[in-house]
Symmetry: C2
Amino acid sequence: MNTILAKDHFMQTYVSVDCVVFGFDNTQLNVLLVERNTQLPRLRDLKLPGSLIYQHENADEAAHRVLNELTGIKKITLKQFKSFTSPERTRNPDDIGWLEFAYSNRIDRLITISYLSLCKINRRLNNVSKYQSVEWCPVNELPTMPFDHNQIVEESLEEIRRWVEFDPAIVFELLPSKFTESELRKLYEAIYRKELDVRNFHKRISGIKYIVPLEERQTKVAHRAARLFKFDKILYNKRMTTIE
Amino acid sequence: MNTILAKDHFMQTYVSVDCVVFGFDNTQLNVLLVERNTQLPRLRDLKLPGSLIYQHENADEAAHRVLNELTGIKKITLKQFKSFTSPERTRNPDDIGWLEFAYSNRIDRLITISYLSLCKINRRLNNVSKYQSVEWCPVNELPTMPFDHNQIVEESLEEIRRWVEFDPAIVFELLPSKFTESELRKLYEAIYRKELDVRNFHKRISGIKYIVPLEERQTKVAHRAARLFKFDKILYNKRMTTIE
């Protein structure tokens, strides 16, 4: 067994962070992607924003740095959700070529720690990163991305579902501060990837105290203006939890 | 910024797995610890079982290997829960000394991916690992462990609480297949680290369909034999989830 622990077997392992930032545009979920900055023309494709972890920082700090450089947002809620460690994730020579171009190092193996974030999509993005462009891409129309980035997005969607079950408040980070019932339903439909019955959904929502109907209605809409709601964090924190 | 990406800054980063295995002894939660195998007498102390990730395996495979060598159990439910990445975690020269002794490599930085597992404590442990001994230690009486292993156990307890909220069935992995209401309550008390009111707990449990009272009672007890219960997985899977 000890033979596979020989000196050079662990030498070129690097650790990165990758960030999956979700935004909701009232119809579907979008993911924030960046364009790789390279002189290799074949590799001008889209990927998740990320970086190797620098010497003096931990993974949380690296992820915050990446998103701060990309969006200008200082305080963004980031949740570490999974490490992707397959030796196969650097199987594509193009990906390794790009890595070695970007970091001027020989890299055999790259383990990445992925982070999840939810963001209001109308937020202005102030990109000062190494990436030449940043854009929102609908999760249902993602291109084929390098490494295992498609798989990371897929698993992060499952993670959001778990997160919502545990802490239903997080969906409101994806909505404007005042929203309609229809917007909330479409967000749930996007997260769970299934259509929800309008009347059943209305019944459920009406029973939830922390989703508060306002006296206001939508403005500037062609159809009949719908009632607006807000999320009440104080009422939310007062609700019963499972066992305590 | 690019100066800190110079060649030698990422060179000695290694990635390991560490496993937090919980067992419940009818009174308190215990964690499976191993004794470090070293010729350095000062370092004969206890730690979480772990290993560097080998070249051809991913982190899940490494964690299964560690626990298989330690317990002989082939199928054990393991949940990856967090990467610990602080540059400070290898600050203690003793820890680095042990690592370099164990792996015959120069190691500057060690990132670890932690795993969580729940185990029936009366299971026989069949240790064929590099560790010379393995033992259960009550979570409230843990020694000071190397690296950030105390912190890892602390955070894994928080993770169990989130896990129970999301999937209440997991507590039954810590109990014998037939258990009393008092054993279940003591397990919840150990997980939540607080006393629960006996009558309120009884009321809650009575309302949960998948906790099924049996006709059987305890045997070989000094006090009045209590009724036994079992967990019904089929009824559990039929219960409603939050939104679907």
